[in-house]
Subunit: 404 residues, 2 copies
């Protein structure tokens, strides 16, 4: 008689954004006349840039003729894309990463969810708290996280590193030694960053204790301040301890096109075994490459025209971020983020819980945000708004919130 | 100190097709003047059909404008695609499958590799032998398969069901009871099928012993004979025991576009838990949907024009299959397959091993095929040729083989 993976059953409730979608859907049904503005899920709204559209049309045409048709892609990605990534995202900023250390995929969510597979079953993970739910949930599904305590919202076998107003959202080195450390900077959900010196502390720590940092840099394109790393490989020693995950979703609007990549330097080893070789094996066995036309679209992102066009989009979203941040602060909200990231993280007023504030904002302002507690226990009492809406909607949402 | 997933290290050598690619590459370097014909890997060569190309261009244009832009897709697939699949692939042939039992993905390889995750860690799997390597390898990576015996090519904790000339490639019910049974018909690599009655035996068996059948139907479009099921749900009782995996790669040439789907009826339960709910949770946590434009391309496959165009392509490949089969048999090879599948499975001459025959064919005829032993121990002494080449190359390859 077959049995299921019991670890799946340990997951409390459903994925955060599914819950939000259900609440919004119920509200909309009950209030069909209200105009909802969504500043909740981190989905973009600007269309794909013209240069990338042109590339998509060209590669679609290639697929229409036997001479230029492309079947199975190389498991790890086409060289034309891996080369331009290595050049633009790494060599240009002095980071020592070669094209064959770059694994092209269908997105950062898939990669950040599956990367745990190549580690030992009893690995101990450390996460910032609050945190992108995928890191913890996928380790729950793999049976690594122990027992869930509904009262605290914590798993018994996970090291939580609180990031709150009290420590200025800079996680402290854990007292218990982890095997895997998930870091995401610029951070989702808080929108905060580390300085280069602060990130170097983590790289040094990981090398010292033999941990691997899984560095999610999906939001690096939003960095505006000096002295904030675009890549963890700007830190000395990162090649022996850090995996970096990148996305085309937030810098070029690929949420509906699906493209990302993971960098695994060949210097990360356990004995003779490189993590690079294990991830290559996983790609070769459980994945069949990202679509050719999407990889060509990714290449177009790096063209001069593509770069100019996506910079405009990022500036558009960051203008929204400024409007949200300034608007909220003008009526007394405490906020962080919004300077190097498209997320604004606010302290809920009057000690409201995150979900109470969610309901309040939905009902009174018809604005959808994301409850901080959905990202972990230290997110309780916080709330995330995103800058990915349209300018008009962002302005209107903030005006509504200011009037509450 | 971090450690790796030791189960990955148990995998002997590299993925079959990587090994072939390396051998061919070495031969090509040493013999730059020889024209290699590849009838090895199951990749298509015909371009994407015009109706599908038109759909791709249209949806690319949608992505260019904010009003019609599509961001994150629904985790489980767009309704427009799930509905047409349910209607065309199931309801039309009298199979009771609803749209919300269909999970759209980036391909059958990803799904057939990841589906094992939702089962208990100590589940026992049964596979046909020979078999598509992904089923076994992904269970190896999950630590389910015991110890590998290089002498026999078998894992200690896998039930092998030999399919050879001796049993006419019809697997016998195992004596030991499995939890999960992988079946692929029309079969890769042998190209053979089961009749409806023979498949019903498996459905009845699975229901009796409480096993789940993972039914890979990637090649169903190639079925030409009556009384061969296009879907396992044509069998009575399959809703309580069978998961079906389908692909757009082989019926519509999507190997480079990446689209597939998995069907999990809500009636497959362990206690109160449906496999449907677990797979939905996995999709929601580790996957972010197939690209919008690719899902629109999938929809176009089901249009009247799309259907007519892909039928022509399938007929083209099946004409190749006929040429291969007839050519081989005319010089005394024993073959199966090629009637309901694009694969021809031949017995190597003079008791050559599969890899010896691979080298022989590569060196003497400059034709690349796939060694049967790469698909499992009972594949030793067999060899796979595929019908996915161009007509001209197929004819030339067979002429070369006939002259050996």
């Amino acid at each position: 008689m077959f049995r299921v993976n019991e670890d799946y059953l340990k997951l409390p409730g459903s994925y955060l954004f599914s819950t939000i979608a259900k609440k919004v859907s119920a509200f909309t049904e009950a209030n069909p006349d209200k105009k909802i503005i969504r500043l909740g899920i981190g989905d973009v709204t600007q269309p794909i840039a013209p240069k990338i559209i042109e590339s998509l049309h060209n590669s679609v045409d290639e697929m229409a003729h036997a001479e230029t048709f492309h079947g199975y892609a190389p498991d790890l990605g086409y060289d034309f894309l891996r080369n331009v990534i290595a050049e633009h995202d790494y060599k240009r900023i002095g980071a020592d990463i070669s094209a064959d250390e770059i694994f092209v995929s269908d997105g950062a969510k898939s990669d950040s969810g599956s990367i745990q597979e190549i580690f030992a079953h009893d690995s101990k993970i450390a996460v910032c708290d609050p945190v992108y739910p995928v890191y913890v949930d996928t380790n729950v599904m793999a049976g690594r996280t122990g027992v869930y305590d509904a009262a605290t919202g914590k798993w018994s076998n996970v090291i939580y590193m609180p990031c709150t107003l009290e420590n200025n959202f800079v996680p402290e080195l854990p007292t218990e030694t982890p095997d895997i450390i998930y870091l995401c900077f610029p951070n989702n959900p808080t929108g905060t960053t580390l300085t280069k010196e602060q990130l170097q502390v983590w790289v040094d720590y990981a090398n010292k204790v033999g941990a691997v940092i899984i560095y999610d840099a999906a939001y690096e394109a939003y960095i505006t301040e000096e002295n904030v790393c675009h890549s963890i490989y700007e830190c000395e020693g990162a090649r022996t301890c850090a995996i970096e995950i990148r996305s085309f979703s937030k810098n070029a609007g690929f949420t509906g096109l699906r493209l990302g990549f993971t960098v695994i330097p060949k210097d990360i080893k356990s004995g003779d075994v490189t993590l690079h070789s294990l991830w290559a094996r996983r790609h070769g066995t459980k994945f069949n490459g990202a679509p050719y036309i999407i990889q060509r679209a990714g290449e177009a992102v790096y063209s001069a025209e593509g770069q100019a066009q996506i910079k405009e989009q990022i500036a558009y979203y960051m203008n929204n971020a400024k409007i949200i941040k300034a608007g909220l602060e003008s009526v007394g909200y405490k906020t962080v983020g919004g300077v190097n990231a498209p997320y604004i993280w606010l302290k809920t007023p009057d000690n409201m819980t995150s979900w109470d504030f969610f309901d309040y904002l939905l009902e009174k302002a018809n604005v959808v945000g994301t409850p901080g507690s959905g990202f972990g226990p230290s997110g309780e009492g916080y709330f995330r708004l995103t800058a990915f809406g349209s300018y008009e909607n962002t302005v209107e949402a903030i005006e509504r919130i200011k009037k509450l």
